[in-house]
């Protein structure tokens, strides 16, 4: 961290995107000019301002006359909540198993590593199709799908890193002064792999935002009342020939969010990883 992470353009870009997402999500009720579910059936598919639309609807309205801008603002809430919750749970599960596998070794390591191998050989698409069919549509489906599919990312990397840390002198010292394995794992090893976890978590946020967009695009995420970026894109896809701007704004949001999280993750890896830094 010594080199000043804010000198890294990727980190700056990523932080700006994340901060914007967070602010928009938190202050959605104050930022949004309209209620995202309020219908104005006299003003359906209204054009955005620069195409001669009204000032009241900056980015136009959808097929039910709902304000696009307000819906995109509220959509940020869903995207951020799903991303943070899903990435945290996937990280928690994967990190716990990875710590156990790497530190305890032996049979436990064997069992967990095998499980990860089998899991990763099963294509994510199949898994999510089956999960979606089993769980039905809803935000819980999206979160469960992300956790079930992506815990392996954390598990593999954490295990490998713990294997490295275990051989370090500070662990030997900790054992010598009589710390229990639990204290060593959570008090010593975990803080040392925290930068790595932060990187993985950031990248997972980007993945989760895309998965949420995909599942709501297909109609398997939140039910129609709630505004989601994916759901808006799906609706816009239907009217794309009459009103292309319907899908443009939510699409830009997803793309910027994904690029931001990826840049932040890559930047953090560059800054935090001593090998990359050299």
């Amino acid at each position: 961290m010594t080199r000043g992470p804010l000198r890294n353009p990727r980190i700056v870009f990523g932080v700006v995107v994340f901060a914007a997402l967070l602010l928009v999500a938190v202050f959605a009720p104050w930022l949004a000019p309209h209620d995202p579910t309020e219908q104005d059936l006299l003003n359906t598919l209204a054009a955005p301002v620069w195409k001669g639309g009204q000032r009241a609807f900056l980015f136009g309205t959808d097929s039910l006359g709902r304000d696009i801008l307000s819906r995109v603002i509220y959509g940020a809430r869903v995207a951020l909540i799903v991303a943070v919750v899903a990435a945290s749970l996937a990280g928690l599960l994967g990190t716990t198993l990875g710590l156990a596998a790497g530190y305890l070794g032996g049979r436990i390591d064997n069992a967990i590593s095998r499980l990860v191998d089998i899991w990763m050989s099963f294509p994510a698409v199949l898994l999510s199709i089956v999960l979606a069919a089993v769980l039905g549509a809803g935000l819980h489906t999206v979160i469960i799908a992300i956790v079930v599919i992506d815990w392996t990312r954390f598990c593999r990397v954490v295990r490998a890193e713990v294997l490295v840390q275990r051989e370090q002198d500070y662990i030997a010292s900790a054992i010598t002064i009589g710390l229990t394995p639990g204290k060593i794992l959570f008090g010593e090893v975990l803080p040392n792999i925290a930068p790595l976890l932060l990187t993985l978590f950031t990248l997972e946020l980007g993945i989760a935002i895309v998965v949420e967009a995909i599942l709501s695009f297909v109609g398997l995420s939140a039910t129609s009342g709630i505004a989601t970026w994916g759901g808006m894109i799906a609706e816009g896809r239907q009217y794309v020939n009459q009103a292309w701007w319907l899908m443009a704004l939510p699409m830009v949001c997803v793309i910027v969010a994904v690029l931001g999280m990826n840049a932040l993750g890559d930047g953090l890896r560059e800054v935090l990883d001593p090998v990359e830094r050299r």
Partner: protein, 335 residues
């Protein structure tokens, strides 16, 4: 590389398939929703519902359902789709060729793009074409295929309407295919008008699928090419009077291919999986589109059949990758 090796790999695929079949069967039996409730009109008689349950074998115990299902499966019968009221096998077989054509075209595009970008980057090392190649790989990798597809729909389909964004062929095109492989058939029988229409419909979905893979190929191939260009035998080839381009193309590329082929193989399964969404976005009538419809309709027999089909595709892909690997790498071939 013997036929016994091939046979062994094929036999090894069977327990995997069986495992997938069991998992899918069990998972889908614990589904909370009732598939019959979705196919009857509201206010249907309870006797009619009972009769339908009987007809689709949903009343028997889970074990006898499984044995029955497995027995049928071995005879090549995957049951009837509940939402489309057609045999699952014939549905899948009628849509599979479209998906295969899409996947293969996407694969070819990815290889061509990846190869071109990597070679350009290495040949013009340290000059602007290398930066362009790196930039292409960076952007193509950062944006997932789902978003590429939507971008293409918006930019090349609507704002600058260059290519069609929906379906496989225009309804008005004069073309009466006898097989499911429209493009192949049109090319073989010389119906160039139809072939043009088919290619136009394929381009955007295929590019959306291909871009992330092309980026991966570019990166891996470029780094192994750069490593190889520093080897002694490259210097030797240059001393013997080979031009830089020829050394790159004839000597270095062959030695750099193995890691790229491995990556392509691993990524190819993602590409097959990616068809699910891409076909849905472009209303392309393949098995991916069918799968999304099946999930939305909660059509259990169809979902089972499709998951098994995808599992078969993944297994076959891995087999082909292993084969190409042995063909390329003499060390593995002799074992």
């Amino acid at each position: 590389m013997t036929s016994s090796y091939l046979l062994k790999r094929l036999l090894w695929a069977l327990p995997t398939l069986f495992g997938v079949a069991v998992v899918v069967f069990v998972l889908l039996r614990v589904v909370p929703g009732d598939p019959i409730a979705m196919m009857v009109p509201p206010g249907a008689h309870s006797e009619d519902i009972a009769r339908l349950r009987e007809m689709y074998g949903l009343n028997a115990s889970i074990w006898s359902q499984f044995i029955h299902w497995l027995g049928q499966l071995l005879q090549g019968d995957l049951g009837n789709s509940i939402s489309l009221r057609e045999k699952v096998v014939s549905l899948v077989l009628s849509k599979l060729p479209a998906t295969l054509e899409l996947v293969i075209v996407a694969m070819l595009i990815a290889i061509a793009l990846g190869l071109a970008a990597a070679m350009t980057g290495v040949y013009f090392r340290g000059r602007w074409p290398e930066l362009a190649a790196d930039g292409f790989a960076g952007i193509a990798l950062a944006i997932p295929d789902f978003l590429w597809a939507l971008l293409f729909v918006l930019l090349l389909g609507v704002l600058f309407p260059l290519l069609p964004i929906s379906g496989r062929i225009d309804p008005g095109t004069e073309f009466e295919p006898r097989t499911g492989f429209y493009l192949l058939e049109a090319l073989v029988t010389g119906q160039l008008g139809a072939a043009r229409a088919l290619v136009a419909h394929l381009l955007l979905p295929a590019f959306a699928l291909a871009l992330p893979l092309a980026a991966g190929i570019t990166r891996v191939l470029k780094s192994s090419l750069i490593e190889i260009m520093n080897q002694d035998y490259i210097v030797l080839a240059r001393v013997k009077g080979y031009s830089r381009a020829r050394t790159l193309w004839r000597v270095a590329l062959r030695n750099a291919l193995i890691p790229a082929v491995t990556l392509t193989g691993v990524q190819f399964t993602f590409l097959v999986g990616g068809t699910v969404l891409i076909e849905y976005i472009f209303s392309y009538p393949g098995i991916g589109n069918l799968a999304i419809g099946a999930v939305i309709q909660r059509d259990l027999p169809l979902i089972q059949g499709l998951v098994l089909t995808f599992a078969c595709l993944f297994i076959i892909t891995n087999l082909l990758v292993d084969l190409s690997y042995t063909l390329l790498n003499p060390k593995v071939r002799q074992v």
